[in-house]
């Protein structure tokens, strides 16, 4: 058995903040798993200290005699370190500084590194003199839920006075307020068996499964494997625990398909995957180059073994929150793992046998133990022997009824069963109320933890997440021998279930122990506030008040008192709270039940959950084939869904975007322009039934469309509203290419597949997206043909007769490049869309610019595209809102009466055919100099500005270069009957209100003559 050295250096604590860091007065001279050959400097609240590699911030603070580390949430009571693990409710600090400042970090989980900066939080001006501590004086008022009963008068004071005060007082640490400079990543890991927790049960499970050949992932939140074995003086197979652990770790690491992830917390059991977070670089001042700070793992496992251990429960008694009062198991952790004595003179207070180990270990380390205070009337001879050997007086049927000290414990008063009071000086009180299984992940699928009366603890639910088994202390097995055996069994079973043939490993032999305990939950009649939930300052009186007021459901208790809602999510308080409520309300604990454990098991950095996807990498960018060319032309780009498109192409001397866009649109009307329209969805539809298929998805007819011609089509959703529109061309008897709007491309594709695979599988039709295959460029304007003639290979004739409006053809351009030419127009001018394989898109744009130079060609962007289409009254995304029918948009006559199509039936409902529905109209300002704004509502002239007179709104607006004033499209109630009427465009959110005239939606060339030249 390895015994830590007995000598505790006696040394005064140095005090100067500027001077050299003091030595570590509470560090044992030897023992533990810290590296005393190296010293790490760190600061807490600006004061310098030292620790060693292997320390946590908590162990290093204790080594330096720092007891007061934080203030509680509500009463700002002084608090010290309670635990040595993830359950820590008190010792929360702000770690690091500047953009890396991270609030609410548990000192017990923060590995020490050189230069670590930590600060206490939620105090002002300092930790020792916290003015908010005044809350303790008015604590009787600040009982659970007091805020629901007051702050109601005067009403205006809530937001202006009361709430700002509460908000400032609440909260814990401070967020950085600057972008996080570190990066994060996410990855997926597949395995046969996931083992959560590398304590004795988890290690045996991993061994059993890995030896059978299964792919194993072993996750351990600590930096080392071993779990409680690291904190205890135990022997396995005759070896001290650290030596045994080394052997097991070496074997696991040697197996190629066993992956060990340390510093990795499995935080959630979701459907089909667990979430885990690996703290890759948190133990360093800054992440190494090319390393993330943290990595999110999604672990997909065939089976999983939860071996997360257990958490010790505090005892509930008056003053149980004083710095210096600590969990008994944590005291052993600090002694045995970190070589730190958490005090110089201790009292141990317990309801169980396990805490006697703390007596033995303290004594072995040379710490005086004044007394072992056991709540039980009878204790075993072994316990008596341990107390005697340690020189501790044994007080049975006894409890701590009073504590002394404010920012640090100075002594306790114990009352025994006979009512005798014993005043004991001590600076450390180690307490143990028994152990609660860490079963959180086991109930993440909704199964409720079940109370086990015999073991006086909650156990994992019967209904576990699929594929999960629970082993060891997480399953309520507290004896080491049980943990080892259960782990081996669970690992073997998991391997077997995933198709392997395990031979369960032999369980190591261990020394004997006892974990007998008796259920005592709280000490009645003590002095001072007795806390159940330390961080949220929920005491026995708060639970009693909740019970008194009828908040007797355990969920009501939680929500009313905030018990279990702090950053530790009740890890040390839930069982005590439930037991207390049960006792106060006269119910059993089983009948009282427990709250639901929700992910995450411990808090997870939001950055890790986002990973790579932040900033510009938030979502992928789609770039058009002409992107670089457009950039060279000085284009300003705009986000169009996932795409980046050229919005406009400013030229030197142009004062603003409007001038540029006006020039671009005018050039198209008067000469020629080119615009990349690749982003429109393109779907290749083939097969003998292709035309039949189109008949069913579009409202208009397709069978008669000749090869070499295109047609405008509209498709509805099944509820009768317009889904999308676009032009579809017939390339062959059995082949069409459909275009969709940019934003709906994916949705339409999915819809077509649905129609084909689910509704009409009998049709012989195949479809695939070709959006990306073709770079498609619109060449529009009266000189467009002249430009194209210089590009299209001879002898193809693009004259108006040979290639009229709505013609399409496959041909070659630029000396043999295969291409598709469509004579389509969104602008109302004679126009073409030319498509070439995407790799040639960039060069085609350049060639078209050269060819068009003599004609004054300009590139134009999405803005001018919008101007041109508004001038022509073509609908686009602003009108295809999913709230409009074909009739609303003036497309009602396209709806064939001779066939069924998607949406036909529901489009006939009264609500969709109501003649009072708003319909598409054109609008122009009466004052031609006035500017229209999209989103302005349309009201009758002279009517009051109320909802009763709301008759529609402006969907799209543009400055029309052709007309020299602003124009708009809008949806207006009975609009087609109101041509010439003056209405108001009412835009109170931008302070606008002007008169507009209702006109037909086509502003330019209503006869369409320019299309056919």
């Amino acid at each position: 058995m390895s015994a830590p050295a007995m000598i505790l250096p006696r040394q005064a604590v140095a005090t100067s903040a500027a001077g050299p860091a003091p030595a570590q007065p509470f560090r044992l001279a030897a023992g533990g798993l810290v590296d005393r050959t190296a010293t790490l400097d760190f600061t807490f609240d600006g004061r310098r200290y030292t620790g060693h590699p292997g320390d946590t911030l908590a162990s290093a603070l204790l080594a330096n005699g720092v007891r007061l580390v934080g203030r509680s949430f509500k009463y700002h009571r002084p608090r010290g370190i309670l635990s040595s693990g993830p359950e820590e409710p008190n010792a929360l600090v702000e770690l690091r500084s500047g953009a890396r400042r991270e609030p609410n970090t548990r000192a017990t989980m923060a590995e020490l590194f050189a230069g670590l900066e930590a600060r206490s939080q939620n105090r002002w001006p300092s930790l020792r003199f916290d003015l908010m501590g005044v809350n303790q004086l008015v604590a009787p008022i600040l009982a659970a839920g007091f805020y629901y009963k007051t702050f109601m008068w005067p009403a205006a004071f809530w937001e202006t006075v009361y709430e700002p005060l509460i908000r400032r007082a609440a909260g814990l640490g401070r967020a950085a307020g600057e972008p996080d400079p570190d990066h994060y990543e996410k990855a997926t890991l597949h395995c046969d068996v996931l083992v959560t927790g590398a304590g004795p049960a988890g290690l045996m499970a991993a061994l059993a499964a890995a030896r059978a050949g299964a792919r194993v992932v072993l996750c351990e939140e600590d930096v080392r494997l071993g779990g409680r074995l690291l904190a205890e003086r135990r022997t396995l197979d005759g070896l001290p625990a650290p030596d045994w652990l080394r052997g097991v770790e070496a074997e696991l690491r040697a197996m190629p398909d066993c992956r060990i992830l340390t510093r990795t917390t499995v935080f959630g059991a979701f459907d089909g995957a667990c979430g885990a977070v690996e703290r890759v670089s948190d133990h360093l001042a800054t992440p190494p180059e090319f390393q993330p700070r943290q990595r999110l793992w999604r672990i997909v496992a065939g089976r999983q073994v939860l071996a997360a251990g257990s958490i010790e429960r505090p005892l509930v008694f008056g003053g149980n929150d004083r710095p210096g009062i600590m969990l008994a198991g944590a005291v052993r952790s600090y002694l045995n793992r970190f070589g730190v004595a958490a005090g110089r003179r201790a009292v141990v207070f317990t309801n169980n046998d396990d805490a006697a180990c703390t007596v033995a270990d303290l004594a072995a380390a040379g710490v005086a133990v004044a007394a072992l205070v056991d709540m039980r009337r009878e204790v075993s001879p072994e316990i008596r022997r341990i107390a005697e050997a340690a020189g501790a007086s044994l007080l049975t049927d006894a409890a701590v009824t009073r504590v002394r000290g404010r920012t640090a414990l100075r002594g306790v008063e114990v009352t025994d069963g006979a009512g005798r009071r014993h005043a004991l000086d001590c600076d450390l009180l180690a307490m143990s109320g028994g152990w609660s299984p860490s079963l959180h992940l086991a109930s993440h699928h909704g199964g409720k933890a079940a109370w086990n009366e015999a073991r006086a603890t909650f156990l994992p639910p019967e209904q576990l997440p699929p594929g999960m088994a629970v082993a060891g202390a997480a399953n309520g097995d507290l004896l080491l021998a049980e943990c080892l055996a259960a782990g081996a069994r669970a690992g073997a079973a998991a391997a077997q279930a995933t198709g392997f043939r395990p031979a369960p490993p032999a369980t190591p032999s261990v020394d004997g122990e006892s974990t007998a305990s008796a259920p005592f939950w709280w000490v009645r009649g003590g002095r001072g506030k007795a806390f159940v939930d330390f961080q949220n300052d929920v005491g026995v009186e708060d639970v009693a008040l909740a019970n008194r007021e009828g908040f007797r459901s355990v969920e009501h208790l939680k929500r009313y008192t905030t018990l279990g809602m702090a950053t530790d999510q009740g890890k040390t308080s839930n069982a005590n709270g439930v037991a207390l409520l049960a006792e106060l309300s006269g119910r059993t604990i089983a009948g009282t039940g427990t709250t639901t454990f929700r992910p995450p098991y411990t808090p997870v950095a939001i950055g890790a959950l986002a990973g790579h996807h932040r900033g510009k990498a938030f979502r992928p960018v789609r770039r058009t084939p002409t992107h670089d060319w457009a950039a060279e032309q000085g284009a300003v780009f705009v986000e169009a869904g996932p795409w980046l498109r050229a919005q406009y192409f400013p030229r030197p001397g142009e004062s603003d975007w409007l001038e540029t866009v006006t020039r671009e649109a005018r050039t198209v009307r008067e000469a020629v322009g080119l615009c990349d329209v690749t982003t429109l969805g393109k779907i290749d539809i083939q097969g003998p039934d292709a035309a039949t298929f189109l008949e069913r998805v579009y409202i208009n007819t397709w069978k008669a469309l000749p090869v070499g011609r295109a047609r405008y089509g509209v498709m509805l959703r099944e509820d009768g509203m317009v889904m999308d529109d676009g032009t579809t061309a017939r390339l062959a008897e059995d082949r069409f290419v459909m275009t969709t709007t940019t934003v709906n491309a994916v949705r339409v594709s999915q819809h077509l597949e649905f129609c084909h695979q689910w509704l009409w599988p009998e049709l012989d039709v195949q479809m695939i997206s070709v959006t990306e295959q073709w770079a498609q460029i619109a060449v529009a304007g009266p000189r467009s043909r002249a430009v194209l003639e210089r590009v299209v290979d001879a002898p193809f004739d693009i004259g108006n007769d040979a290639f009229p409006h709505m013609a399409c053809a496959a041909l070659t351009v630029c000396g043999g490049i295969k291409a598709r030419l469509f004579r389509l127009s969104f602008s109302g001018e004679m126009a073409y869309e030319i498509a070439v394989p995407a790799r040639f898109g960039d060069a085609l744009a350049r060639r078209l610019m050269e060819a068009g130079a003599p004609f004054g060609i300009t590139p134009y962007g999405t803005e001018a595209l919008g101007v041109l289409r508004i001038e022509k009254g073509h609908v686009a995304g602003n009108e295809l809102t999913g709230q409009t029918t074909a009739a609303d948009l003036g497309l009602g006559r396209m709806m064939s009466r001779k066939k069924d199509f998607i949406g036909r039936a529901m489009a006939q409902r009264p609500g969709l055919t109501d003649p009072a529905r708003p319909v598409l109209v054109g609008l122009r300002p009466v004052d031609r100099a006035a500017r229209l704004r999209g989103g302005a509502h349309l009201l009758p002239r002279g009517a009051e500005s109320t909802a009763a007179h709301d008759q529609g709104y402006l969907t799209s607006v543009a400055f029309s270069p052709a007309l020299g004033h602003w124009i708009g499209l809008g949806l207006l109630v009975r609009g087609r009957e109101r041509m010439g009427e003056i209405v108001r465009a009412h835009d109170p959110v931008r302070g606008g209100d002007l008169e507009v005239e209702v006109v037909p939606p086509v502003f330019v060339d209503p006869e369409g003559a320019r299309l056919h030249v």
Partner: protein, 203 residues
């Protein structure tokens, strides 16, 4: 009245420069290369024509069209399963027009669509290729689960990709829509940085 043919432009032009990035060291953990010289044609069986279509492919090129997510063929011509009764024919340095060649042998049995310009294809190999890919792809690439010849259509960092494994190095090829080439490369380079990544000349 045009004359010279147009210059082709890679979807990664200006976005992926050859050279070493990320962690330094002797050998890069990941090597990334843009594939060139490819022709890709999608093939979908006409209704009820799967059997004759497979026979025709076998007769013409001696390849059994895969009916599961596999890639069958060789570097010159391979068929990559891409959905039920759907494949991508992928050819390298194919003389002439692949679509025309396929049409000549398969006309009427399947619908053919040229896709060669619609995709960017990256070759990703190296001892840490799996680790890097796992940072964006949720599929299992462990040799027990995914082997040379295996194919998957899935997501990589929110981008739709089709991936197939060529050898046990391991070497993978990953095809994605051309427009996403920049984001795809940004991701794979970032994911590979900790292992050291070598961008090699397209080929």
């Amino acid at each position: 009245m045009s004359d010279t043919a147009l210059a082709a432009r890679s979807p990664l032009a200006g976005l992926l420069r050859p050279g070493r990035q990320g962690a330094r060291g002797d050998l890069p953990g990941v090597v990334v290369q843009e594939r060139t010289g490819l022709q890709i044609v999608s093939l979908a069986a006409r209704k009820g024509q799967e059997v004759p279509l497979m026979a025709a492919v076998r007769a013409a090129w001696g390849i059994d069209l895969p009916t599961t997510p596999r890639r069958v063929g060789d570097a010159r011509l391979a068929f990559v399963w891409s959905g039920p009764s759907q494949w991508l024919a992928v050819a390298t340095d194919w003389p002439g027009d692949l679509e025309a060649a396929l049409r000549a042998h398969l006309g009427g049995l399947g619908s053919l669509t040229d896709q060669g310009d619609g995709r960017v294809v990256l070759r990703v190999r190296g001892p840490h290729a799996r680790d890097a890919l796992a940072k964006g792809m949720a599929i299992d690439l462990h040799p027990r689960a995914f082997q040379p010849g295996d194919v998957a259509a899935t997501l990589a960092a929110h981008i739709g990709v089709q991936i197939w494994q060529l050898d046990e190095a391991p070497t993978y090829e990953m095809a994605a829509f051309r427009s996403t080439a920049g984001s795809l490369c940004d991701w794979i380079v970032a994911a590979s940085a900790e292992y050291g990544v070598e961008i090699v000349e397209p080929g």
